[in-house]
C-alpha cells in the first residue's frame, strides 16, 4: 500500500499529492441542503454537480439533490447567463422548491459570469427566491464554500426589522446532522430560544418511510433566515468556519457574536454551555452536568490506555482543532495536525493548544496534504490516526489503527447520525479512540499476555 511514498521529504511547491481538502462548491451545496425546501444549483459544467452530489451521498448515505447549468463549450465562450436563466425556470417548474441557491464553479468564475446580475434579470415566480454565492474552486477549500454560501443567504435574505425576537442564532460549522441534533438538544435543555443555520438534520439523516421526499422536514426555514437580523446574539461555532458569516451579521445588522471552537471535547463544550448559560441567564440543568460528570468519569477510568499515546489528526480545520484538544484532555499527544484548508489561523490555534497543555514536539500545518503527513509518520510513527476515509491507505501501509471522524467518511455507516460534539459526542469519541487502542493492544500482545479484564 502506498509503496511509492519515500521516507525522504522533498519540499514541494506545485504538486499536491493526496489532498486533505476539496473545492468550495461541495461545501456550498451542503450548506444549501440545510435550508428548508431549497434546491442547490451549480453554475458550471455538469461534472461539478455530479461529483458533489456523489460525495455527499457517499458520506451521508442519503440523496443529495442539486441542479446544474449544464455548460457546454458555447456557454463557456458566450457566458452562462442563458443557461442559468433556463435552469432556474425549469427547476421551479419541475421541482417546485421555495428557493434556489446558486453557487459558482471555477468555470463560471474564470469566464467572469456575473450571477448577481443574471438573477436580477430572471423571471422568478411570485413568492419564490433565488440567492447566490461566489465559490471559485481555486480559492480556499470546501470550508470556504460552506461559509460563503451562508453569507450568500444572509446577504440576500436576512433583514433587521427593529423588533428583537429574543432568539440566539447558532452557526454550527461544517458538522454532521447527528451533531446538529445534539447541539439542538443542548440548546433546548439550556432553554435557549434559537435558530440554527444551516441545519441539515432531518434532511441528510431523514427516516425511511417508503416514500421519497425531495424536500424532507428539516432545514432552516426562510422565515428563520430572514429573521436572523432580529436575533439578539450569535453563537458561531468553529473559529475558522463560522467567523465570516458572524462578522457579516455584525457588520450588516449589528448582531453581536461569540466565536467559539467547535464543541468537541470537555473544554470546548464547557465554553458552549457557559456561553448559553450567560445568554439565557439560566443555570445549567442537572442533566447536562450529569453527562459532563459521566464523561470525566470515563476519561479517568480509561486513562491508562490513552496516556501519552500519540495521534496524527487530519481533516477540516475546526474539526481537527476540536479532536486535538479532546485528545489532549484524554492525556494523548496530537503529534501531527494537518488540514488542507489554507488558513494560517489553524496553525495559530494549534500552537495555542500545545502551549496550553505544555506538549512539545508536535507539528501543525495548514495547506498540507496526506502525502506529507504520511512521510512524517514514516519518519516518526504515531499510535493512532484520526480523520477521514482518505487516511485509510496510510493506516494500512503503516499498520496504524484509524478512528474515523470528519468529512468525508465514505467507507463506514451510521457515523453521520451520531454526534462528536457535546459531552455525549465526546463519550462516543472516547469510546472510538480508547477501543481502537485497546483492540490494537489485544492484537499485538503475546498469547500469555492477553487480558480478559482490562
Amino acid at each position: 500500500m502506498l509503496d511509492l511514498t519515500p521516507k525522504t521529504i522533498y519540499e514541494r511547491t506545485a504538486l499536491r499529492i493526496n489532498p486533505c481538502k476539496t473545492c468550495q462548491p461541495v461545501g456550498a451545496l451542503y450548506a444549501a441542503l440545510g435550508v428548508h425546501r431549497c434546491m442547490p444549483h451549480s453554475h458550471g459544467s455538469q461534472g461539478c454537480a455530479s461529483y458533489h452530489r456523489t460525495f455527499l451521498s457517499r458520506h451521508f448515505k442519503e440523496p443529495a439533490i442539486a441542479s446544474t447549468s449544464s455548460f457546454t463549450e458555447g456557454a463557456s465562450v458566450f457566458g452562462g447567463g442563458s443557461n442559468v436563466k433556463t435552469a432556474v425556470k425549469n427547476v421551479f417548474d419541475i421541482y417546485d422548491p421555495d428557493i434556489i441557491a446558486i453557487h459558482t464553479t471555477c468555470l463560471s468564475e474564470t469566464i467572469g459570469d456575473d450571477v448577481n446580475s443574471y438573477i436580477s434579470d430572471m423571471d422568478i415566480p411570485d413568492g419564490k427566491l433565488v440567492v447566490q454565492a461566489s465559490t471559485p474552486s481555486y480559492v480556499g477549500s470546501h470550508i470556504n464554500g460552506f461559509f460563503n454560501m451562508m453569507c450568500g443567504f444572509i446577504n440576500y435574505l436576512t433583514e433587521k426589522t427593529g423588533s428583537p425576537n429574543g432568539k440566539t442564532a447558532v452557526f454550527p460549522g461544517f458538522i454532521n446532522p447527528g451533531d446538529m441534533r445534539e447541539l439542538k438538544r443542548l440548546l433546548s435543555l439550556m432553554e435557549t430560544p434559537f435558530t440554527m443555520f444551516p441545519d441539515t438534520s432531518a434532511v441528510m439523516d431523514a427516516p425511511m418511510t417508503g416514500k421519497y421526499e425531495m424536500y424532507p422536514a428539516g432545514g432552516t426555514t426562510l422565515a428563520e433566515i430572514k429573521a436572523l437580523g432580529d436575533c439578539s446574539h450569535i453563537v458561531a461555532l468553529g473559529r475558522i468556519t463560522s467567523v465570516e458569516p458572524a462578522e457579516l451579521m455584525k457588520k450588516k445588522f449589528k448582531v453581536p457574536y461569540t466565536l467559539l471552537p467547535l464543541p468537541i471535547g470537555v473544554a470546548a463544550t464547557d465554553s458552549f454551555i457557559t456561553t448559553l448559560s450567560k445568554l439565557s441567564m439560566r443555570d445549567v440543568p442537572a442533566e447536562i452536568e450529569e453527562q459532563r460528570g459521566q464523561l470525566i468519569d470515563i476519561l479517568l477510568d480509561s486513562h491508562p490506555y490513552t496516556h501519552e499515546k500519540t495521534a496524527a489528526i487530519y481533516g477540516d480545520p475546526d474539526t481537527v482543532l476540536g479532536l486535538a484538544e479532546f485528545c489532549l484532555e484524554m492525556g494523548m499527544i496530537p503529534k501531527y495536525m494537518i488540514t488542507g484548508t489554507p488558513k494560517e489561523e489553524f496553525t495559530k490555534q494549534a500552537q495555542a493548544l500545545f502551549a496550553k497543555y505544555g506538549v512539545e514536539g508536535c507539528t501543525a500545518k495548514a495547506n498540507a496534504d496526506l502525502f506529507e503527513l504520511h512521510q512524517w509518520i514514516k519518519n516518526e510513527p504515531v499510535d493512532v490516526l484520526i480523520g477521514t476515509s482518505y487516511g485509510k491507505a496510510i493506516a494500512k501501509a503503516e499498520d496504524i489503527p484509524l478512528v474515523r471522524a470528519g468529512f468525508p467518511i465514505l467507507d463506514r455507516y451510521v457515523h453521520s447520525y451520531l454526534p462528536l460534539v457535546g459531552y455525549v459526542g465526546a463519550m462516543r469519541l472516547a469510546e472510538l479512540i480508547t477501543n481502537a487502542l485497546m483492540d490494537r493492544q489485544d492484537r499485538d500482545c503475546a498469547d500469555e499476555d492477553l487480558e480478559t479484564v482490562m
Partner: protein, 531 residues
Amino acid sequence: MNERARMLDQYASRVYKNRKDHVLQLEDTPGVPEITANTRTVPGIITNRGCCYAGCKGVVVGPLKDCCVITHGPIGCGFYSWGTRRNKAAASEGGQNYIPYCFSTDMQESDIVFGGEKKLKAAIKEAVDIFHPKYIMICSTCPVGLIGDDVHAVARQAEEEYGITCVGFSCEGYKGVSQSAGHHIANNGLMKHIIGTGDKRPAGKYSLNILGEYNIGGDGWEEERILKRIGYDIISVFTGDGSVEAIQNAHTADLNLVMCHRSINYVAEMMKSKYGTDWLKVNFIGVGATIKSLRDIAKYFGDPDLMARTEEVIADELAAIGEDVEYYKNRLKGKRAGIFSGGSRSHHFQALLKDLGVETIIAGYEFAHRDDYEGRDVIPQIKEDADSKNIENLTIDADPELYKTRYSDEVMHALREQLPVDSYPGMIPDMKSGHIVVDDYNHVETEMLLKLYKPDIFFSGIKDKYIIQKSGVPSRQIHSYDYAGPYAGFKGAVNFARDITMSITVNAWGLIVPPWKSEPMLEGALTGGGE
C-alpha cells in the same frame, strides 16, 4: 395514455420538446426506432451526467496503473476522481502502481490570473524527482482551457527534459455534452502517443486485447482467468488494471475484444484502420453471454483445437456454478428490473438478468450515442452538431509496415455472417414491446418510472440510489457494483445473483411500517352508555 406519454405529460412545452425524442416506448413494429442521444442536457433538469474530464481521467486514463496522472486544475476534480471508480489494480512485478495516489496542481487564483503552465512544469519536475515515473499523463480541467494553458507543449517539453513519456489531454469539463467527449479525447491520446510504441511480441498462438474493460470489482481479472484457461495470450486490457507498458504493445494482438462500446469504440476503429486488427463486440456479463462471446472468439480464429478447448472450459465452468444459478433463479424468476448506466452496462446486464429469469423493462444510458441504442448501422446517419464537432476526430491511415489483415475479403464476408466482427447491433434490438428506453434520464423521470412501473429492483448510480431506496424499491449501484463483484464471467454471475437476491429479500423491507400503523391498537369492547 401509455407510460411514455404519462412521463412526458408533466413537462411544460419547452422541456417536452427537448425530452420527447429521448424517451421511447417500444412497439411491435419492424425495425429499430430512432432515439435522440448525445445532445445537450436541459439546464436545471437534475441530470445524472458528468463531464468530459470525468470521462477522460475518471474512466479511461485514470485506471492506468503505471503512470502518474496529474490533474491540472483546482483541487476538486482531482480529489473527486481519487479512488472512487473501483478500477482494481495490482502492480505488476517490479512495476509501479499509482492507483492509490491523487496528483493535482491545486491551482490557486494567481495561477488562473497569470497562467498555470509554470506550476504544471514545476509539478512534473516534483513528480519526476520523487517518483521517477516512466509515464506521466496530464488531464485538464475547465479553467485550464479557458486561460489557454498549453498542456501538450508542457508534455512535449517534459518528454525531452526527463526522457519519459508524457501525454497531455485537453479534456476540460465543458467539452461535449457529457463524459462521452472525454472518452473520445482519451482514446485519441492513447492512439497518438501510446499504442504501437512497444515492440514486445505475443507469446501465445492467439493473442487478444480486452478493450473497454475497467476491472470494476475485478471483472477484468475474471475475464482474463477464463480466456487464459482456454489458452489465449492477453496483450493488454484497456484500461482496468491496465498499464502503459502493456498498451504500447496492443498493436501486436490478433484480435480486439470490445466490452464497453461507448468508451472505447474509437480505439477499436482506429486500430482497425491503422493495423488492420479486427474487433469483436463481446459481453462477459451473463452466463449465456459469456458462452456466446467465448464461442465467437474461437470461431473467429477457426481453429478446431481452440473450439474444443473452449467447449471444455465452458462445460467445466458451468458445472461449477450450475446449482447456485438454479437456486437463485428460483428465487428471482418473474422479477422486473430497471437499469440505467453510463455506457454499455444497461445492455450487458440485461443478459445476466435474463439468465436469472429477471426481465429488464426499463433501460437507458447517461451518455450513450445513437449507435449504442440502435446499432452501428446508424452511424452514417448521425448528424454532427456543434458540440461534437469540437472533439477532434483523428484521421488514421494504414501503417505502411504494420498493417495486415488476417483474412481475405471473401473469408471475412462469410465470417461476418456468423460473427459480430467490427459491428454492434445496439441495445434496443434485445428489448421487447412495451419496454421503455430513456436517454440521459433525469431525476423527475426516475421518480415517474418508479411510480409507473414499480420495478422489483432498479440499477443505477449513487446519486439516485438513496432516492430509489427511499421510494421503497431495492437499488443497487451498477457503476460501482455497490463495492462487490466481480460480476463478469461464470463465477461473477453467481456473485451478482447472490447480491441482488440479498437486496430484494433483506428483512428490513418488512420493517418500514411500524406495527402501530398497521394493527388495530385499541382492544376490548366499548363500555359505558348502554347497559
